[in-house]
């Protein structure tokens, strides 16, 4: 959800690019960034709808959170905020009790196994004060009464490009490669209060596993749990070995076998729709024609003649 689409802002001198520092080394709006909600669609109501899953029927799948009881969700929020709220679009606020309520409903409906909330605003730690659902890990960039600061100003573009908390998080991940097994503990310990100019506070009372044992790929990097398939299910090979040798392709053989099973419905389904059969025949005939152009020209001429004859008859 991006309320201000900075990459496509008319005042952005580097269109479709958002950098993380003034060297313009890293384009954060990379090749495959997908933004689902932008501009005026970013409202507290839509945000809570995404979390709880209560959309209108017509909302497409790309705008829904398609999670289930085994999912790990990363929720990252940044912007202006204060004591127990986060500002949306300069007009609304997301209150901490609304967020806690939405998370509680998500947990009741088993929409996640583990949820990680990262907040980068002023007084960020107050936003997850009211959370009570198990399986939630939350970290904020500053405590109550503290501000969070931006990292540096890019004088070329004219705005501050990144906040401190976000900058150091990105820096941590840039140092890793795909097979490093870094833990969340190392991520959280990498935040230095002197560099952040605020205290990054995290709460783990609702999160059971120890942070030292949890890899960062649990939440970052779209990593899946995989199980190897040991063998194929030889449902068809046994049939082929039993039947007589037949040079035809096995699929045709199989359809014969299916017909032998006393299952009449399968036979009926084999009859193709006559309309599509007709179309297929016509298509085959047309493909056999060598000079399609002359046929088309001829038929147009015939059509013109027919029109002229019929209009003269009608007069």
């Amino acid at each position: 959800m991006l309320a201000d689409d900075m990459a496509c802002n008319a005042r952005n001198e580097y269109p479709a690019q958002v950098f993380n520092n003034e060297n313009h080394k890293l384009n954060l709006y990379g090749d495959n960034v997908e933004v689902d909600y932008r501009g005026y669609e970013v409202t507290v109501e839509n945000f809570l709808r995404v979390l709880t899953g209560r959309h209108e029927n017509a909302v497409p799948r790309s705008k829904r959170l398609l999670s289930d009881e085994g999912s790990h969700i990363l929720l990252y929020m940044t912007g202006h905020g204060g004591d127990e709220f986060l500002k949306f679009q300069d007009a609304e606020e997301l209150q901490s009790h609304d967020l806690a309520d939405a998370v509680k409903q998500m947990k009741e409906k088993r929409r996640f196994k583990e949820l990680m909330i990262m907040v980068d605003t002023c007084q960020a730690a107050t936003l997850f004060n009211q959370l009570q659902s198990p399986g939630v890990l939350a970290i904020g960039s500053s405590l109550k009464g503290e501000n969070s600061y931006s990292h540096h100003l890019d004088s070329d573009i004219g705005v501050s490009v990144v906040d401190r908390f976000t900058y150091y998080t990105l820096a941590f991940f840039e140092r890793l490669n795909i097979y490093d097994n870094a833990s969340l503990n190392s991520l959280f310990r990498s935040y230095d209060p002197r560099l952040l100019m605020s205290t990054a506070y995290y709460r783990t009372d609702l999160y059971q596993p120890h942070l030292v044992e949890v890899p960062v790929t649990n939440f970052f990097g779209s990593v899946m749990e995989t199980i190897h398939t040991n063998s194929a299910y030889k449902a068809f090979s046994s049939k082929i070995s039993n039947s007589k040798s037949n040079p035809e392709m096995p699929l045709n053989q199989l359809s014969e076998h299916d017909a032998n099973i006393p299952n009449d419905e399968l036979k009926n389904e084999k009859q193709k729709c006559p309309y599509s059969q007709m179309r297929a025949d016509l298509h085959k005939k047309l493909e056999k024609l060598e000079n399609v152009d002359t046929v088309v020209n001829l038929s147009i001429a015939v059509m013109v003649v027919v029109v002229m004859v019929s209009s003269s008859l009608l007069r």
Binding site: I178, T229, N230, S231, A235, L251, E269
Partner: protein, 589 residues
């Protein structure tokens, strides 16, 4: 004497009983008359939800786990001197030991019967307490059928013997133990589980190893027929990939990683009609399955592989599997037919580029995978298929089609993965401490008894999910007293409760598939009610807010009117007292 509070009171003769009090009371009365109209206008419509029924359903599901009736029948052929009653009690003990007497949801409420058929084809049997109408006709099973023929023929013949018995209360599962007395006396014991609801154990000299046989028979009943050969799920629901609207969409994608090297196509329509249609039909009570397919191009993978000289191919390890699916560049979830709450299972056939061909998966123990495929629970599966020859120059980038034989092999691997996603094993045998059982594969993807296990497990899961959803909904509705509850939600809750009751009654009658479909309907209606878009707490205000909105309009004026009425009432009482004293004085005077 007349001036009680210093005000200028009229003289008592001309006291008008009505007048001031009448005016004030009429104003007060008109205000009070408006209150019901105001109340009606701020009333919100809440369709009455049957909270009591919802609570009783969840209590019922928690306290009495659902059990299905099933009948177990053991036939011992070729045994001379065994007492069926003894066998029956031994098998029963064995079963009870294996199930640890626990009655979790979906377990079998079984009744056991044993038949012993001796060498001369004479039978003695003990029937279970509930007499079944389908009794075993003595001598139908011949010893010479077993062992010699192929397993499929044995399976067919046993199917003919036992197939008449499935309509009674619960299904009938049979195990046949055949004692052959061969001259060459092989010591091997073969145990095969058929495609129908029967299994057989064949061997020599089984009468001596009779305790072992009893243990194996109990194991077949419990581990294979009741549990389906699968272990318990770690996360409840990890192997239940049915969407909350009761639908699954199987989305097949053929990924051409680098079309400049080669482009492959497949004749999906044929395999859909011939090979996949029986599977979707078999699973119809459990989920409404639809199939779609697509071919994608320019889909590199994000993990790395290394060249192995000995195997002359590129190797990727199981440690790279979690990173294999490149969700940035693989646009898999493009289904137009799936609604928001369906479950999509992605089945990807990945064709590697020329730079990484052939690409083989190496398991942690050093072996090369036979299938080159893996699954991710509730997501789907991936198969890496290498083109026949990896020589880039011979193939121009013309279109090639995957041959039907290769396609069939791919579909077999896919069926294995599909079974894995439902919690079964992809290989067709079951190993335990007592031995190995060969399981005959069925062309519907699942055998009859596996479908029974699926039906019972899904019924349990759906009913549990339905009751927790309805419980959450009722708690939510009760916590927001000013939230509008539409009629639609009330209807869905009502039908969901009805379907849940139907599922429970069907289960107690032993109708596995109809209980599965009713429970699926119950769950989908409950989820529709819960996820109705109008239930958003942000949009509704509390009582305090309502009060805060209306009080500035009515409170000030209402305050004055009420105060005036009270004061008039006090004045009326004083005036009346004065009048009465004046009257009595007049009378006495």
């Amino acid at each position: 004497m007349d001036n009680t509070d210093g005000r200028n009171l009229r003289s008592s003769e001309s006291w008008n009983h009505a007048g001031r009090p009448f005016i004030t009371t009429s104003v007060l009365f008109s205000f009070l008359l408006g209150v019901p109209f105001l109340w009606k206008s701020v009333e919100i419509y809440r369709s009455p939800l049957p909270f009591h029924d919802i609570d009783s359903l969840s209590d019922q599901i928690e306290s009495t786990p659902l059990r299905f009736p099933c009948n177990f029948h053991a036939v011992f052929v070729g045994f001379r001197s065994t007492d069926p009653d003894n066998l029956r009690s031994q098998i029963q003990d064995g079963i009870n030991q294996l199930t640890h007497q626990n009655s979790q949801c979906g377990s079998c409420n079984f009744s056991l019967s044993v038949t012993v058929q001796n060498r001369d084809d004479q039978c003695s049997e003990t029937l279970a307490h509930s007499s079944t109408t389908c009794s075993y006709r003595c001598g139908v099973i011949k010893r010479n059928v077993f062992g010699v023929g192929v397993d499929d023929t044995v399976d067919e013949s046993l199917n003919d013997v036992f197939s008449g018995c499935s309509e009674e209360s619960g299904k009938m599962y049979s195990v046949v133990v055949v004692n052959k007395e061969n001259a060459n006396g092989e010591d091997e014991v073969k145990a095969v589980v058929g495609k129908g609801r029967h299994a057989w154990i064949v061997g020599n000299g089984l009468e001596e190893r009779y305790g072992d046989m009893v243990a194996r028979v109990s194991e077949i009943f419990v581990k294979v027929f009741m549990n389906g050969g699968r272990e318990e799920d770690s996360i409840q629901g990890e192997f239940m990939p049915v969407g909350s609207d009761g639908r699954i969409v199987l989305s097949f994608s053929l990924l051409n990683s680098n079309p400049r090297d080669w482009v492959y196509d497949w004749d999906f329509q044929r395999i859909d009609e011939a090979l996949l249609a029986p599977v979707t039909k078999a699973l119809a009570p459990i989920a409404n399955i639809s199939v779609e397919s697509q071919v994608l191009y320019h889909t590199p993978k994000s993990s790395f592989s290394s060249w192995d000289k000995k195997l002359q191919s590129y190797i990727f390890r199981t440690s790279a599997l979690p990173f294999f699916v490149n969700s940035n560049e693989w646009h898999l979830d493009t289904s137009a037919g799936a609604s928001g709450r369906s479950k999509i299972l992605q089945f990807v056939v990945y064709i590697p580029s020329g730079k990484e061909c052939p690409l083989l998966l190496q398991l942690p123990n050093g072996e090369i995978s036979k299938t080159n495929g893996f699954i991710s629970p509730i997501w789907g599966g991936v198969i890496v298929w290498n083109p026949g020859n990896c020589d880039k120059d011979s193939e121009s980038s013309s279109r090639n089609t995957i041959s039907p034989q290769d396609l069939e092999q791919i579909v077999e691997i896919f069926l294995g993965q599909f079974r894995q996603l439902f919690g079964f094993k992809s290989e067709a045998f079951y190993t335990s401490g007592l031995g190995t059982y060969k399981i005959l594969p069925s062309d519907r993807g699942f055998t009859e008894w596996e479908l029974d296990v699926l039906s019972t497990k899904h019924t349990c899961f759906n009913l549990h999910s339905c009751s927790t959803t309805l419980g959450s909904l009722s708690r939510l509705v009760r916590s927001l007293p000013r939230m509008i509850i539409k009629d639609e939600i009330g209807e869905q809750v009502k039908y969901s409760l009805k379907a849940a009751k139907l599922a429970q009654s069907n289960a107690s009658l032993g109708e596995y598939s109809s209980s599965a479909s009713s429970s699926r309907e119950a769950r989908s209606l409950a989820e529709n009610a819960f996820f109705h878009p109008s239930i958003m707490s942000v949009s509704y205000f509390s009582y305090e807010h309502c009060f805060a909105v209306y009080s500035p309009f009515f409170l000030p004026v209402a305050g004055h009117v009420v105060l005036a009425a009270l004061r008039e009432w006090k004045r009326y009482k004083q005036e009346k007292a004065k009048y009465l004293t004046w009257l009595t004085r007049k009378k006495t005077a």
